[in-house]
């Protein structure tokens, strides 16, 4: 995911989209195009995080905005427009990743060289430093897609379990189980990369 080197925090999701949404709901294409211009960086970022690569993310962004344009009249404004886009993007990404997974056969040539992501940062400050965020992001990429999707949608983007379950076509209970597994696996990946010599922590001997 090469774009990780080009993180930029200055392009925040703009406020005041309500007027544009209202105009777009009335069929104003120009207003909808403006909505796309103002939110596509955010949507693209989510798409890259969910799919794990830029090419798929490009397709997901296109598909998500097409769905949004077709469904904008049904958008009741119960949530903010970007949040609505997160849900659509999650659904579009899930559809694409699932389709790819069914088709794809992995060739040895396609497997990336392993990258040494170890950092010198102390574990206590790791998560909050920019290097720590990069590290965390890299660990997220290593999660299986089904677990990664849940962790990203819930812990990064703050979507409720019900919304996530709805968009992924799974039960709320299943969403919670996947999130639980995802967090646990992510912790293990972070631990393993922070302390490569120790491997997984041996908690089995601990008891109180």
């Amino acid at each position: 995911m090469p774009s990780k080197d080009h993180n930029h925090q200055d392009e925040r999701v703009p406020d005041g989209l309500d007027e544009l949404v209202a105009e777009a709901r009335g069929g104003d294409r120009t207003a909808f195009d403006e909505l796309v211009r103002r939110t596509y960086v955010d949507t693209y970022t989510l798409a890259v995080r969910l799919t794990g690569n830029e090419e798929d993310a490009r397709d997901v962004v296109q598909e998500a905005y097409l769905r949004a344009w077709k469904g904008i009249r049904r958008f009741r404004g119960d949530s903010a427009f970007p949040t609505w886009m997160y849900r659509i993007t999650a659904n579009a990404s899930y559809t694409l990743v699932d389709r790819r997974r069914r088709r794809r056969t992995t060739h040895l040539d396609d497997v990336d060289e392993p990258i040494d992501r170890r950092l010198d940062a102390q574990p206590d400050t790791l998560a909050e430093s920019s290097a720590g965020l990069e590290h965390l992001s890299a660990a997220l990429d290593e999660l299986p897609p089904t677990l990664r999707t849940l962790v990203i949608l819930k812990d990064v983007y703050g979507l409720p379990h019900e919304a996530i379950a709805d968009e992924l076509g799974i039960s709320v209970a299943a969403a919670k189980v996947r999130l639980h597994r995802g967090r646990k696996r992510l912790r293990e990946l972070l631990d393993a990369s922070e302390n490569p010599s120790q491997g997984s922590r041996g908690r089995s001997a601990r008891a109180v």
């Binding site: 774009s3 925090q9 596509y40 905005y65 965020l133 990064v156 912790r187 008891a207």
Partner: protein, 123 residues
């Protein structure tokens, strides 16, 4: 309660969404290892929340391709709408003509009957 049992519950309990059973809570309060484990989960969660504030530079062409796709979809929708409108107008026109023809025939039949009755009455 064992640390292993608590460790299984921490990933779920870390965000505060899920209520934690009192025995688990008491164990964590008195166990430094589990407190440290919970702290690590919380740090991870804070890091994940911070990722939300980071944006990735889109690859070139994402915006233009997306806008072009929406433009194309809009045109197709407009054409479908136009065709659908024409179809409705055609169906309406045919329906109207049929209704008018039926009404005319019925009126002619009624008129003929009325004339016949009037002729019979005069004879």
């Amino acid at each position: 309660m064992r640390c292993d049992d608590v460790a299984l519950l921490l990933p779920e309990a870390v965000d505060g969404d899920t209520p934690v059973a009192l025995p688990v809570q008491r164990h964590v309060e008195s166990c430094l290892r589990c407190q440290a484990e919970l702290a690590r989960y919380r740090r991870m969660l804070r890091g994940l929340q911070l990722l939300r504030t980071q944006y990735l530079e889109p690859v070139p062409g994402v915006l233009s391709q997306t806008l072009a796709a929406i433009g194309e979809a809009s045109e197709q929708r407009a054409i479908r709408s136009l065709l659908s409108g024409r179809r409705m107008a055609y169906v309406g026109a045919v329906g109207g003509a049929l209704a008018a023809a039926t009404a005319t025939t019925a009126a002619a039949v009624l008129l003929a009957r009325a004339k016949r009755r009037a002729a019979l009455a005069t004879h």
